[in-house]
Amino acid sequence: MAVELPDNVQIGQLDALASWCRKNSLWPMPFATACCGIELMATGASKHDIARFGAEVFRFSPRQCDLMIVAGRVVMKMLPVLQRIWQQMNEPKWCISMGACASTGGVFDTYSVVQGVDRFIPVDMYVPGCPPRPEQLIQSIIDLQDKIQREGTLGGDEFRMTARQQPKRALVELPGLPTIDSARNPVAWSSEVGRG
């Protein structure tokens, strides 16, 4: 005989519950350096409200945050600061690289701008744009929430087992279109210490 569960009882995986809690209360650590910082502030303002997604609390202390949004270009003088703040954040932690400058160096291919923050810290979500519209940033937070729900574990194992991480939604190949396959088109990297 099947047991009738009352309405106020839910059955599920603990991982899914933990991920659901975490994704809906992401506290961003705004690492706003330049113009993308203004769009980040605009996303937090009243027209495009980021508080709807649980991410209202822009705590500036890394000890109290779990989502670092690198908004703006990172120059070589600032990079050790960025790395130190990343290390100060407690797990579980995620990183969104907002804008072209944080993702790849953007328009600034110069002697002092780091060509992509993902060369030196692990990044989970990239938001293209110069600057990205607030709607794009909100979409990236929604995508990150999906990623957390899909891959999250209670003990944070997904951070140690990179094999469990699925390819990002934006990079899933569309049928019929030419793709960039690094095995067939190897890119010659110049000898740089930072290419990890």
């Binding site: 120059v75 070589m76 003088k77 990079l79 050790p80 790395q83 990343w86 290390q87 291919d109 110069t110 002697y111 002092s112 701008v113 780091v114 060509q115 060369r119 030196f120 810290i121 692990p122 951070f159 140690r160 990179t162 740089e192 210490v193 930072g194 290419r195 990890g196």
Partner: protein
């Protein structure tokens, strides 16, 4: 533009070696490096140029028809008569050096630090001449024409943090 002519002529009367010219209504003067402090003192104290707009430098390494390597540019303005004057002086390698203008205008402090940082021009008598925009360990003067735009690898020289490590 009458008042500009007066500043022009006054400078030329005072310092015979000052070469004055005009372009698109803007008055410029070229002063030899030994007399730049005297010229600017004269302009500030007697001609009333109380506002130092900017101090900057141009590297004429690849410029057609250039005689010297560095051109130091002082932009001045007179708040009472609204006239402007550009005073230039030319410097050469090795050890380009010029007296500091911080005793005349305190705003020159950071402007000269930036010129030192970007071009390597030494300012004698500056209270605190060190790098301002680049890290102290940076070993070159980036705005010189012989330094490449992408740099020499300084921007890649950092440790990599990964998920397992951090």
């Amino acid at each position: 533009m009458n008042s500009d002519q007066q500043a022009h002529d006054a400078l030329k009367n005072r310092l015979a070696e000052a070469a004055t010219s005009e372009f698109r209504g803007q008055a410029r003067a070229v002063v030899p490096a030994e007399q730049i402090l005297e010229a600017l003192k004269f302009l500030r104290n007697e001609r009333g140029f109380d506002l130092l707009i900017d101090i900057t430098c141009v590297d004429y390494l690849r410029y057609r028809g250039a005689a010297d390597r560095f051109g130091l540019v002082y932009l001045l303005a007179n708040t009472q008569t609204n006239e402007r004057l550009t005073v230039r002086t030319f410097l050469n390698e090795p050890e380009p050096s010029v007296p500091s203008m911080t005793p005349l205008w305190e705003g020159a402090n950071w402007m000269e630090r930036e010129v030192w940082d970007m071009f390597g021009i030494h300012f004698e008598g500056h209270p605190d001449l060190r790098r301002i925009l680049l890290p102290e360990e940076f070993a070159a003067f980036p705005l010189r024409k012989d330094y490449p735009l992408q740099g020499r690898g300084e921007r890649h020289n950092f440790p990599v943090l990964t998920r397992e490590g951090a």
